[in-house]
Amino acid sequence: MTEDEHREGIKGMANPGRYGIERIAYLLMRLTGLGLLGYFIAHVYETSNILRGRMGWDDFLAMTQTTEGHIFLVLVIGMCVFHTGNGIRIMLGHGGVGVGQPARPDYPYEPASQNYRHKIGIYSSIVLAAVAMMYGMAVMFGE
């Protein structure tokens, strides 16, 4: 079916190269959402080891007390902050906030919805995520 309809497919959906920062934010939102869901499920399983008492907990804790474990947790923090920041931007946008006002279109037809407000929202989410990751790194590796 997809073949007949000449759909771009997953490659086209995930290709962030052609349509600016908004499309990159779209992809990052998906990836961080899925990443967080994966982490969340693993996390709930991990914490259940407390039921096995001190031994069980410490066994599992050892996994995150390595350098790789720390890097992984830093990534989770970054994903969480970007997903949250961008999520708030998206919710506002979805409600029609900050997407510009309708007007008589004029050449060269710059789309008002792709405006600096939302671009700033995206860039701030990325910067915030980076800052949070650095803070997390400082805490985890600083000990």
Binding site: V44, Y45, I50, L51, I77, C80, H94, V139
Partner: protein, 114 residues
């Protein structure tokens, strides 16, 4: 359920958990990372009723939000009556399973069954 109702829940759960998750993560980063994860500390956390309510809330809110997000992605990936039914029910099962499993940890630990 109407799609708009589902998506309002999606946004609502996200908004509600923003503050809760922030508290949860910042607790580790501000009280000394390794200490906050020590067995005694974690057990003490689980024994504190207000904190445990917060954990349970995060668990429910984000299981709903996360699995609905997964449903959205899967719905857009492929179409078909049977497939879409499977995705919808699958997400609900995933949600319930995760909430059940997490709640088991929370309740048993809180009641001192460790």
């Amino acid at each position: 359920m109407k799609e708009s109702t589902i998506m309002k829940i999606h946004y609502g759960t996200a908004l509600a958990s923003v503050g809760l998750v922030a508290v949860h993560i910042l607790m580790r980063l501000t009280t000394g990372f390794a200490d906050s994860l020590s067995y005694e500390n974690v057990l003490a956390n689980y024994r504190s009723v207000p904190y445990v309510i917060m954990l349970e809330l995060i668990l429910i809110l984000l299981a709903v939000h996360g699995f609905n997000g997964l449903r959205v992605i899967l719905l857009e990936l492929k179409q078909g009556r049977v497939y879409e039914k499977a995705v919808s029910y699958g997400s609900i099962v995933g949600m319930i399973a995760l909430i059940g499993y997490g709640s088991r940890t929370i309740i048993m630990t809180n009641m001192g069954m460790v």
